[in-house]
Symmetry: C2
Subunit: 205 residues, 2 copies
DNA sequence: ACCTGAACACCGTTCAAGT
DNA sequence: ACCTGAACACCGTTCAAGT
């Protein structure tokens, strides 16, 4: 297969449609026109294939969004693994990145909130659980902190699923409110740590 | 105006369509089939009028959902005014109620998160601000706590906008996670209180 | 003013038919 | 296996026409 010239928009078109190519273009479209602006027809047009071809690879729009969500969180997982530090500092930096990435894809927040368990890779889940467990949190605390953080980070970056709200998070106000809320959440989480450690010592006595 | 008997399903059909009647039926439909299941056509059918009649009263589906959201929050405001106690206890009870009400209307959470400022009545906003200000919080803290609480409560009760997820919040797990997260948030908020009071004393010295 | 019902421009999804 | 393109059953919104 020799390279193609085609156009600036980077077709890269190999032999035929691939799942990864579909996800890549879908992501691009979402960041431009939002989840509501992405239709299976417009996606197919941008891919240069007929509607049925897209459906041959992806059975439903829901499934397509799940794949896009997994793609997003996959990248975030890689980033999380590269930062060190205390549990709270690590999670703080990570959650800010989650909010940034999600807010750059209008309408994804809504979808993610409703489908978090389908979308968050088990690896990412494992890493975050590991960070909290290592810090000394009890299992119930880990679950509570985890869901609170994800819902807060995803929810805060939810805007109308279409156009102009994409840069909402870049807005100083929104960003300030987000970080303040995040800090309250982490402070509250930290307050559980002492109790959890005490309970653990009592348990292993 | 004398009382009506009508039937169990309560048609109440007076002279013609009223905005409040539309909102009432829309709310009912949403709690049954979710926001996605509510279409302007099905709503019109349930109202017993033609599609155009509904549009004569409500210009758009977005506007209809705003009205429903205001209706929901309006009731919540009335409830909030009836409970007393410390700032954190009041907000805790209120937020649990918000989550309950919102989760009983599948798909509303998504809409509310994207349109909070359009939907939350200024009165409700004022009451909550009052509670926090009276407790001694600084203005920036009030804004941060307010948005964090609303996003958390709304976000946590967001499920897929359709059928079965309506009772998700009744689920012990979800409810437990919600309350745990809420407590962390309130604990974190409380930690700001000492600082805010100190700053206030220093300022008014 | 209030309402009807057809029409427009879209959707997501399916599926016979082609190669 | 992979793809085409028409068809189905819906949407939200608009608007001439009626009363």
């Amino acid at each position: 297969v020799t390279g193609r010239l085609d156009d600036v928009a980077d077709d890269s078109a190999g032999v035929g449609l691939s799942d990864t190519e579909i996800v890549r273009v879908a992501r691009e479209m979402i960041s431009e026109v939002g989840v509501d602006g992405l239709s299976m027809r417009r996606l197919s047009a941008k891919l240069g294939v007929a509607l049925g071809a897209t459906y041959h690879h992806v059975p439903t729009k829901h499934r397509l969004l799940v794949l896009v969500g997994q793609d997003l969180y996959g990248e975030l997982t890689a980033d999380l693994l590269q930062v060190g530090g205390r549990w709270d500092a690590r999670l703080r930096a990570f959650m800010i990145e989650v909010a940034e990435v999600v807010s750059r894809h209008p309408g994804m927040a809504n979808f993610l909130m409703a489908n978090l368990d389908e979308v968050v890779p088990t690896e990412l889940n494992g890493v975050v659980v590991g960070i909290l467990t290592d810090a000394g949190f009890a299992d119930e605390s880990v679950a509570a902190i985890l869901s609170a953080l994800f819902f807060f980070a995803t929810g805060m970056s939810a805007g109308s699923s279409s156009a102009g709200s994409a840069r909402a998070f870049a807005d100083v106000d929104v960003r300030g409110l987000f970080e303040a809320g995040l800090d309250m959440l982490l402070t509250g989480a930290g307050a559980r740590l002492a109790d959890d450690r005490k309970a653990r010592r009592a348990g292993s006595r």
